[in-house]
């Protein structure tokens, strides 16, 4: 099995105005790999949510950077979003309870949906948050070759 993984690394200011640059790069890489339009749209949302978390919670008012590492494999794309700021709490790896399906409008909390979306839209999600060392979110999407069964 060839496990050759090639990396594309992007470093950006931790600012909301740069999150679309991550989406543009993601689009380029994922379409080149042959992902479907729908998969690319899913990944755009998930990766943006990971970046939003870093932009919003990692550095407070201070300037900081976000590293985005695209790992291009033969069968999958992994995107790691990394900051070196404060780790963010309240990341519940189950994610399930974040949805609004069983809630009345009066019970709905604005916010908290980002992490749920990452989980729902990607094949694998890992979040490692260490106090004082920042947060690393890794999102993986596998290429599906459903139409090319041999």
């Amino acid at each position: 099995m060839s496990d050759d993984v090639q990396k594309v690394i992007l470093q950006l200011p931790a600012s909301a105005e740069y999150v679309d640059i991550v989406r543009l790069n993601l689009y380029g890489i994922a379409s080149k790999m042959g992902f479907t339009y729908e998969d690319i749209e899913d990944m755009k949302v998930a990766v943006s949510e990971a970046c939003n978390n870093s932009v919003l919670y990692a550095y407070g008012q201070k300037d900081g950077v976000v590293d985005v590492i695209f790992e291009v494999g033969a069968k999958s794309l992994s995107i790691t979003v990394k900051d070196e700021g404060e780790s963010f709490d309240g990341l519940d790896s189950s994610g399930e309870r974040m949805t609004l399906h069983d809630k009345e409008l009066s019970d709905v909390q604005v916010g908290g949906l980002g992490f749920y979306l990452m989980q729902a839209l990607m094949d694998e999600v890992s979040v490692v948050s260490e106090t004082g060392k920042g947060t690393v979110v890794t999102l993986t999407k596998r290429l599906n070759f459903t139409e090319e069964k041999v």
């Binding site: 909301a16 740069y18 755009k44 949302v45 943006s48 009066s106 709905v108 729902a120």
Partner: protein, 112 residues
């Protein structure tokens, strides 16, 4: 270098009688959330308006955008006045369904 904003988010408001429609286009994300809030602020509390948000030309929305729609929904619901979200593109509808927000956007039954 231009200050870079996400794919030209725009909110255009058209009022016809008591119906006020806000047409969104481009990408609604964290970077333009304050702009969107600013457009909506005077409209949300206006009880005389039948408020409609049209998403036909919206290319992308993130959880920040969904959160703003939710807070508008809650405010309008609290005032017991009309609010609807129409012409939702399929990719965005998928996110609405996933998060469970769609059920709140379903056409409201009015007492006739």
């Amino acid at each position: 270098m231009n200050t870079h904003k996400s794919e030209k988010f725009q909110a255009k408001t058209e009022t016809e009688g008591s119906v006020c429609t806000v047409f969104l286009s481009g990408e609604l994300d964290l970077s333009v959330a304050p702009d969107f809030r600013l457009v909506m602020e005077p409209l949300v509390g206006d009880k005389g308006l039948d408020l409609v948000i049209n998403l036909k030309e919206l290319r992308y929305i993130d959880s920040t955008g969904i959160g703003i729609l939710l807070s508008i929904l809650k405010a309008r619901h609290g005032l017991e006045v009309k609010f609807s979200v129409v012409e939702v593109p399929s990719q965005i509808q998928k996110l609405f369904d996933m998060t469970g927000i769609s059920k709140f956007f379903a056409p409201q039954e009015d007492s006739h």
